[in-house]
Structures are given as structure tokens and as C-alpha cells.
């Protein structure tokens, strides 16, 4: 091969590469079912958008947590807890106020972002008892989608031992 032929081959090769680079995505996209996958790829599945965990925080208390990442939020009025066994006696919840979000249809709705901690009080739980916590929550992504209610569970073992905390030493001003 002489120089001119090499040059022509190179030029033809370059042309093919250019055409291929332009055609490839078009061909690939034409073959694919058009679905808005770019958005779906950015969005988290519900258990990662609203991760739930629970840990014993006292002989009869459990701290339940939702660690909601940026860009997602939960609705206060859709948070529900259940315990098993039910005989552990879950007391009525005291949920934080949350932040009000104005909704055209429902009016002002309380929402939670970031870390949500809820104290669960188990009035009749025994020391060392294993409790299953069932948490239901419902929320949305700022990107413009809403998830149906999600139920997640966690098992905690309450601390064994005395319920009565040790007394602090008494101080007297007279002795």
C-alpha cells in the first residue's frame, strides 16, 4: 500500500466511525421501548426513600426512626405503628408536629423531612421481651411522584433487669 491509499483508507475509516457514532444511539433508541427511565433511575425504591429502624431506648420504650434522605418527605397523618405481641401495650403516639405543606385539595398537611424519631411506649412490656415493631408510612419525592403506604418491620429486645433507676445520692445543706 502506498501513502495515498493509506490516507484514503484512514479517511474512509473515520467516515464510518462518524456515521456509526451518529447512527448507534438512534438505532438503539428506536429498538428500545420508550419509557421515561432516566427519571426512574434517579428515584429511590420506597424502603430506601423512607428507611425505618428501631432500637430499645429503655425498659419499656423503643425509639423508632425514619431516616428520610434529601428530596423525599413523609406525611404525618399516614404514620402508624403496631407491635407484636399486641399485649406489650403500645401507648397512643406522640408525633412531632412536622412542617406544614399547603395542599390545594387537603389544605395544610404536616410533613417530615430528614431524621424522624418517634418514642414508642410499651406500657405492659416485660424486661428482656422481644418486640416486633411494624411501621407504616406514606410519602412522596420532590421530583413529583408519590409512593403507596409502605410497611416495614424491625425487632427489638428490651433491656432485662431492674426497672427502677439507681437513686442519686442525697445532698443536705445541714450536714
Amino acid at each position: 500500500m502506498n501513502r495515498a491509499e493509506v490516507a484514503r483508507r484512514r479517511s474512509a475509516h473515520a467516515t464510518i466511525v462518524v456515521i456509526a457514532s451518529l447512527a448507534a444511539p438512534i438505532v438503539a433508541l428506536a429498538l428500545a421501548v420508550p419509557a421515561d427511565l432516566a427519571r426512574a433511575a434517579d428515584l429511590l425504591p420506597p424502603e430506601r426513600a423512607f428507611p425505618f429502624s428501631a432500637l430499645a431506648s429503655g425498659p419499656q420504650t423503643v425509639e423508632a426512626r425514619f431516616n428520610v434522605p434529601d428530596g423525599y418527605y413523609l406525611y404525618r397523618d399516614k404514620i402508624r405503628f403496631q407491635v407484636e405481641p399486641a399485649s406489650a401495650g403500645l401507648a397512643p403516639l406522640e408525633l412531632p408536629a412536622g412542617k406544614l405543606k399547603h395542599d390545594e385539595f387537603f389544605g395544610d398537611v404536616a410533613t417530615y423531612r430528614g431524621l424522624l424519631k418517634v418514642d414508642l411506649v410499651l406500657k405492659s412490656a416485660a424486661p428482656g421481651q422481644r418486640i416486633l415493631i411494624k411501621a407504616e408510612a406514606q410519602g412522596c419525592a420532590d421530583a413529583g411522584i408519590c409512593y403507596p403506604p409502605i410497611v416495614q418491620t424491625a425487632t427489638v429486645t428490651l433491656p432485662a433487669g431492674s426497672v427502677v433507676p439507681p437513686e442519686a445520692p442525697k445532698k443536705s445543706w445541714f450536714n
Partner: protein, 161 residues
């Protein structure tokens, strides 16, 4: 050469992941009750440019896109555009809401089973709103998680009506 490989890879990536069925016949075979309890078969809308929208009153972005659907239905309904809403919701709440916004297309009630149904058409996150567009020949031409923007909708109307 590298450019060609990258371009092909990107093209393949855009098309990878869950592939929703292209044939709309499974969707058109569905029957669901409307907000008045009357069973409605989707097959009655075969031949239309069908926009099946999964929604709920508890889904704010779903509600946000509906006024535009109502406008498009009014404008292009007699040319063959047909919206059908499938609510993952309580029939009473749906009934109240659709009356409030003057919904001019059918609102079917799917309950949580509707979410499962939408999964078979590509709703991998089981979230709302989720919209499926079926052309007049019965092929699924688009699925959308999240709001369907007016410009997008108009694009399909212009091309397929």
C-alpha cells in the same frame, strides 16, 4: 472508534432496565369498576389514542397534572383522544374529587391491585402518577413515571391522533 462504542453503550443504556410490553392487548383486556360501581372494559376504547393514567387523590403530583388532561380531553376527544384514569383510592374520595374538578373522562377504581397491575407495564417503583399511552393500533408507545408534561402530551397528540 471509542466515540462509536460510547454512543452505542449510551443508547443501549437508555433502553435497558425494565422493558414494558409493546403490545397493549393485556392492558385493553382489563375491566374495572368506575366511581359509580359500574364495570368498564378498557376494550371499549380500542382504536383511540388512549392515555391510561394511574393516580390517587392522596397523590399531589397526580392531581396537579389532571386539569391539563381535562383540557386536552375536551379539545381532542372528538378526534379520538381518550383519557382513562385508574385511581388507587377509595371510591368515595374519587367521586368527590372528580366532581370538584369536573372530570370529563372515565375514572376507574383499581385499589392497591392497580399498583400491581401498573408494575407489569413498567412501574418498577410502584409509585404514582404512572401513565401508559396506547396508539390507535393498540401498541404501547410510551410509559411515564411522574407527571406527563403538556408539551410531551401534545407531541403524542400531534404524532398519533
Amino acid at each position: 472508534m471509542v466515540a462509536a462504542v460510547v454512543a452505542l453503550a449510551l443508547g443501549v443504556f437508555a433502553g435497558s432496565g425494565y422493558e414494558a410490553p409493546k403490545d397493549g392487548s393485556t392492558l385493553l383486556a382489563i375491566s374495572l369498576p368506575d366511581s359509580k360501581g359500574q364495570e368498564q372494559a378498557l376494550a371499549q376504547w380500542r382504536g383511540k389514542l388512549l392515555v391510561v393514567n394511574f393516580w390517587a387523590t392522596w397523590c399531589e403530583p397526580c392531581r396537579d397534572e389532571m386539569p391539563e388532561f381535562v383540557r386536552s380531553q375536551a379539545r381532542f376527544g372528538d378526534k379520538g383522544l381518550q383519557f382513562v384514569g385508574i385511581a388507587v383510592d377509595d371510591p368515595a374520595k374519587v367521586g368527590t374529587y372528580i366532581q370538584q374538578i369536573g372530570l370529563n373522562y372515565p375514572a376507574l377504581i383499581g385499589g392497591m391491585g392497580a399498583i400491581e397491575l401498573s408494575k407489569t407495564f413498567g412501574n418498577t417503583l410502584s409509585a404514582l402518577p404512572f401513565t401508559i399511552i396506547v396508539d390507535r393500533k393498540g401498541s404501547i408507545v410510551h410509559t411515564q413515571l411522574g407527571v406527563l408534561k403538556p408539551a410531551q402530551l401534545q407531541g403524542f397528540i400531534d404524532k398519533l391522533l
